[in-house]
């Protein structure tokens, strides 16, 4: 190896090692009096990264923008004046796998100062660590997930509705739609699932009890693999069983295939496909093209074109500033970031710097709720209820655009051992 090569190799290794110790806290020198640590475990390269990466970017954009201004601005009761505290944000990619979660968690939670909050974007992480975050007194915020993240509650707070509740919204809309068409007989409901836990998670005794109470007859469950295949046979079998509506936890990857096959078999008039929030996005229109027309889906966040809402405008500016994709998932990411910052600010204003996880936990239970400037409905938590969002609505693909097709729907409490648990 000659001298130049040696020098370059040493330089590359030095850069790599320097990278290990590089954090935003050291990157942006400002007038802050300190920093608070937050960490995230998310699926950045795994099967659900389509949605998780924009969520991550949204959160990071919020923190970056605040750090660039010098940190979170708040009135400190200890010093009696306005102060700034920076956000020391670190993250880890678990590829939607549970295996890497323990070491990722221990590494990230050992940051200095001790983290007071964390975001679990991947279900595998969110469901694995609630007892750990409770032990370490770190407030755990969860993105889209199944019920184990907030039942039992621990120190875990889920922002979005859980998957069975999404299914209830879909059924509520379907029954309204059925009646609006002048039908008087009993409609048939079919589940369309993936062969992974995410796919099967909306199907719970509670969600089925609610759907039946609306007047549906559940005719069965059909499955497809995560990597999409032709679903013609599933559709044929579903039609033979008499299904009028089908709902499932599918992401764009599978949803576009469903819509293409539905159109190919000319079944659009016989069967209404309803998507979960992660199956009806701008991407499904891009991939499925005309075939996406008529797709209806559940959602809870603001639309990207609702610029009259201050939160949406702010989220748009952030995505433009940091050159990130602008879509519904980005909106959710910014909303999560704003929720975290608002709780930190509230804890700082009440207790002064430094704050602990306990201070932030108390602010999560603020009876006034958490406002996201129109990005999400008002979010409220109590000691028992850790699902902060109780309002959803329906969307549909019309003329190549996603439009709202329903009023707000108050989702039922389909928690295990709750009012909808069959006796």
């Amino acid at each position: 190896m000659n001298k130049t090569k040696k020098c370059l190799t040493i330089l590359a290794f030095a850069l790599l090692i320097m990278g290990c110790f590089f954090t935003p806290g050291t990157a942006f020198a400002g007038k802050s009096i300190g920093s608070v640590s937050i960490f995230e475990i998310n699926d950045l390269t795994g099967p659900t990264s389509d949605s998780c990466v924009p969520h991550h970017n949204g959160i990071w954009d919020v923190f970056r923008a605040i750090n660039e201004e010098g940190g979170i601005l708040y009135d400190d009761p200890k010093t009696g004046k306005a102060e700034r505290v920076k956000i020391n944000f670190r993250w880890g990619d678990n590829k939607a796998q549970a295996g890497p979660v323990p070491t990722l968690y221990e590494r990230l939670s050992s940051a200095n100062p001790k983290p007071v909050m964390c975001y679990m974007g991947s279900s595998a992480a969110a469901e694995t660590i609630p007892s750990w975050t409770e032990r370490d007194e770190i407030v755990q915020i969860n993105g889209p997930s199944g019920q184990p993240t907030w039942y039992p509650p621990h120190w875990s707070f889920t922002i979005t509705p859980d998957y069975p509740a999404d299914a209830c919204t879909a059924a509520w809309w379907a029954m309204e739609d059925w009646k609006s068409k002048g039908n008087t007989d009993v409609p048939d409901w079919a589940w369309f699932t993936l062969n992974i836990p995410f796919g099967k998670s909306p199907i719970k005794p509670e969600s089925e009890a609610y759907i039946k109470s609306l007047g549906f007859n559940i005719v069965g469950t059909w499955t497809m693999p995560f990597v999409p295949v032709d679903v013609g046979s599933q559709f044929r079998s579903m039609i033979n069983a008499g299904a009028d509506y089908t709902y499932g936890n599918l992401v764009v990857l599978q949803q576009q295939k469903l819509m293409k096959d539905l159109k190919k078999l000319k079944l659009e008039d016989k069967l209404q496909v309803i998507a979960c929030p992660y199956g009806i996005t701008d991407d499904v229109i891009k991939v499925a093209g005309d075939a996406a027309e008529g797709l209806v889906g559940v959602h809870y966040a603001a639309f990207p074109d609702e610029m009259d809402k201050p939160g949406v405008k702010e989220a748009y500016e952030l995505s433009k500033k940091y050159k990130h994709k602008w879509n519904t998932d980005a909106i959710l990411g910014v909303a999560i970031g704003k929720i975290m910052v608002s709780r930190l600010k509230a804890a700082l204003e009440k207790n002064g710097y430094p704050i602990t996880g306990k201070d932030v936990y108390a602010e999560m239970l603020d009876p006034a709720g958490i406002d996201t400037d129109g990005l999400l409905p008002l979010i409220k938590y109590t000691e028992e209820n850790r699902r902060g969002m109780w309002v959803t609505h329906m969307r549909a693909v019309k003329d190549g655009k996603i439009v709202r097709v329903s009023k707000d729907f108050n989702i039922p409490d389909v928690a295990p051992n709750g009012p909808w648990t069959p006796k």
């Binding site: 790599l16 990278g19 290990c20 110790f21 590089f22 954090t23 935003p24 990157a27 950045l44 390269t45 990264s49 990466v53 991550h56 970017n57 990071w60 970056r64 670190r90 993250w91 880890g92 990619d93 590829k95 939607a96 796998q97 549970a98 295996g99 890497p100 979660v101 323990p102 070491t103 990722l104 968690y105 221990e106 590494r107 050992s110 279900s123 595998a124 469901e127 694995t128 660590i129 609630p130 007892s131 750990w132 199944g146 019920q147 184990p148 039992p152 062969n195 992974i196 836990p197 995410f198 099967k200 998670s201 940091y322 050159k323 990130h324 295990p416």
Partner: protein, 351 residues
């Protein structure tokens, strides 16, 4: 070829069979065990977690090594058997309040028996076709984890209470570490010795040439099934420990991806050696951890590339290392270790 330390002569069969031959060997072993078991006294929780993860994986991969490394039967369903052990152990503790050690044993035996069932095709098929059969085990058991809700909790999974041993609750990372390292030591001891017995030699004979082994009087059917049982037994034990270590289990934790990674660890470490498994697992987990640690830092240095770019790059490096190993060091890290040892023993002479 075996190389003894200079001046060490075997004067009887017992000495010839010994793993540790000299006083310095015994001192090194004792020191190593002392360091291993006193680490919780001066190590941070992060390092204990890292070592605990390595420990659980070593137990699972030692099992795979018996089947694939020693007996030559390829398996890509090891993670499913780890899951089976986890669910069996939790089931017996939660429903029948069995003591932890007893549930652990049941997990091992239960997984082993299910392993025998999926090992039956090995009597007729081998190589690539057997790999497909074990793939079926992964898919079938994965499906059962998802759909047998009364047993596995389905998609919601199961919350697992801390293990209690002789009245001591294993609820801290330190206690969990000690428990895991106890089982790692026991597993390594059992596997290392088992491979020096009649059973071990029979398994190796089957791997080298099953027809010749049968001609020599080895009951190939029996030993192949025994290899499946032992492999899945250790997987079950690893699963039971994992469930109580992490405190929550669901089907996402026992996927085919994990099975393939186990196989990768075996290849990198060197098949057919106890030490190779330890090297392979440690190297792969540490390297993966390095990749995880470095990617956010690189993203912060070059934010315009985006978080997923550096996460993907880190993964690519991880994959690249496996390819490099397959090309340049197909006999694994264990072979490198042996070369190093030989050179040290012969130093300053070249041969």
């Amino acid at each position: 070829m075996h190389w003894s330390p200079c001046g060490t002569y075997n004067v009887n069969y017992t000495k010839d069979m010994a793993i540790f031959r000299t006083k310095s060997h015994w001192i090194s072993l004792t020191l190593f065990l002392v360091v291993l078991f006193t680490l919780p006294l001066y190590c941070s929780r992060y390092y204990l977690t890292l070592l605990s993860t390595i420990g659980i994986t070593i137990i699972a991969v030692q099992g795979l090594s018996i089947l694939t490394g020693y007996t030559g039967q390829i398996s890509i369903g090891q993670a499913a058997f780890v899951g089976t052990g986890a669910y069996i152990s939790v089931f017996f503790i939660q429903h029948y309040e069995f003591p932890f050690f007893f549930s652990l044993l049941l997990a091992g035996v239960g997984s082993g028996l299910i392993g025998i069932f999926f090992g039956l095709p090995a009597l007729r098929i081998k190589g690539f076709y057997l790999a497909m059969s074990t793939l079926a085990a992964q898919l079938i058991l994965g499906w059962l984890f998802l759909h047998m809700e009364g047993f596995t909790g389905g998609t919601e999974g199961l919350h697992v209470e801390h293990a209690t041993i002789f009245g001591i609750v294993i609820d801290t990372p330190q206690r969990k570490y000690w428990l895991i390292m106890f089982f790692v030591t026991l597993t390594v001891y059992i596997v290392k010795n088992m491979m020096r017995t009649r059973v071990g030699r029979a398994l190796v004979a089957i791997r080298d040439n099953d027809l010749a082994a049968e001609v020599m009087g080895i009951d190939v059917m029996r030993y192949k099934l025994l290899a499946f049982f032992l492999s899945c037994f250790f997987a079950g034990i690893a699963g039971a420990i994992y469930a109580h270590y992490i405190g929550f289990i669901n089907p996402v934790q026992f996927t085919m991806q994990s099975s393939i990674i186990y196989l990768g660890m075996l290849i990198v470490g060197g098949m057919g050696s106890v030490l190779g498994v330890i090297f392979g697992v440690t190297f792969m987990i540490l390297f993966e951890e390095f990749a995880y640690a470095i990617s956010p830092s690189l993203t912060m240095m070059f934010p315009s590339f985006g978080a997923q770019f550096f996460s993907a790059i880190s993964l690519s490096f991880y994959a690249l290392v496996i390819i490099i190993f397959l090309i340049f060091q197909p006999r694994g890290l264990n072979h490198l270790w042996n070369i190093l040892k030989r050179r040290y023993r012969l130093y300053p002479f070249s041969h």
